[in-house]
Symmetry: C2
Subunit: 156 residues, 2 copies
DNA sequence: TGACAATATGAATAAAATTCGCACCAAAAG
DNA sequence: CTTTTGGTGCGAATTTTATTCATATTGTCA
């Protein structure tokens, strides 16, 4: 699907996605046009899904994170859609087992959190919810460990 | 901290972070140099934390997500560090209540997941763990709802 | 070996990034 | 009521990058 040069390019972009293509080319030791071509193909193949800016949540009244375990009674698709529609909801995962969904939230404070929870409880299919408020986030990344695909792959 | 133009710029970058600055300038109707200046200040102030490439996890043997509730007995800082050091671990949150940490994982398959779990259980301070395997992820975003800061702020 | 597909290169051109002097505006100071 | 000052936008000039394309190069397979 991709070779070491692709991995190298992805590692660079994973670090700083907005650096110029010419700089990437220098770092991998190839012509800019060749690197551009590779990046385009990675995008076409869906390996690169997009580029994002990482914002400081605290600057946008989003300092409080929480996880909500939502136990449902079967109406899963609708419930999921309703949960996903809430703008404070950042993630909705359907999990194996009794708790139907695991929802990740981001809000300004406890008051707003309470408001969202009052909004989730009466949703169709929701039997009960259990909330876990985050005190401190120790790690939060979305990086993929590309070293494992490189050849010098050490594992976790 | 920032005005409507900043918000507009951030909205554009949140959508497609790798588009040229000149294009951003066109969309907000300002000179490229002015937009560049604003973006730099947003970076300096820590409002913009960085730029990332979003990769397709399935392409990197990371198709399986799971959440692990880790109950600890007080040795929190060390436990957190040990959890965060595991490369499959994408997030470590210290939560309020009996379950000390909530950990988000990404692995290739059930076998690898089992391996990671066997790795977590004997960590210092870990009393018990409870794992929730993700069947399907319905929503997964990190976007900040900037509309609320814009003036036309509708809420969740 | 020869054909083919994929990919790299380097030059040429268009576009973008970056710098910087100047203008403008608003708020604080005189 | 002026003057000063800090912040910001503008546009021209320059450097750097993106993009295209014709031309090699490489590797595979029949």
């Amino acid at each position: 699907m991709f070779d070491e040069i692709d991995i190298h390019i992805l590692e660079i972009l994973q670090e700083k996605a907005r650096i110029p293509n010419a700089e990437v080319a220098r770092q991998v030791g190839m012509a800019p046009s060749a690197v551009l071509e590779r990046i385009r193909k990675l995008e076409e193949r869906g390996i690169i899904e997009g580029y994002e800016v990482r914002l400081n949540p605290a600057c946008f009244h989003q300092g409080l994170s929480a996880f909500v375990q939502v136990e449902t009674d079967g109406t899963d698709a609708q419930t999921a859609a309703a949960l996903a529609a809430i703008s404070s909801v950042q993630e909705v995962h359907q999990v194996v087992g009794p708790d139907g969904f695991l929802v990740k939230l981001r809000t300004a404070d406890h008051t707003t959190l309470a408001k969202i929870l009052r909004q989730i409880r009466p949703l169709p299919g929701v039997r009960s919810i259990r909330t876990q408020v985050v005190l401190e986030t120790v790690k939060e990344t979305r990086r993929v460990d590309l070293a494992e695909h490189n050849g010098n792959g050490r594992h976790s």
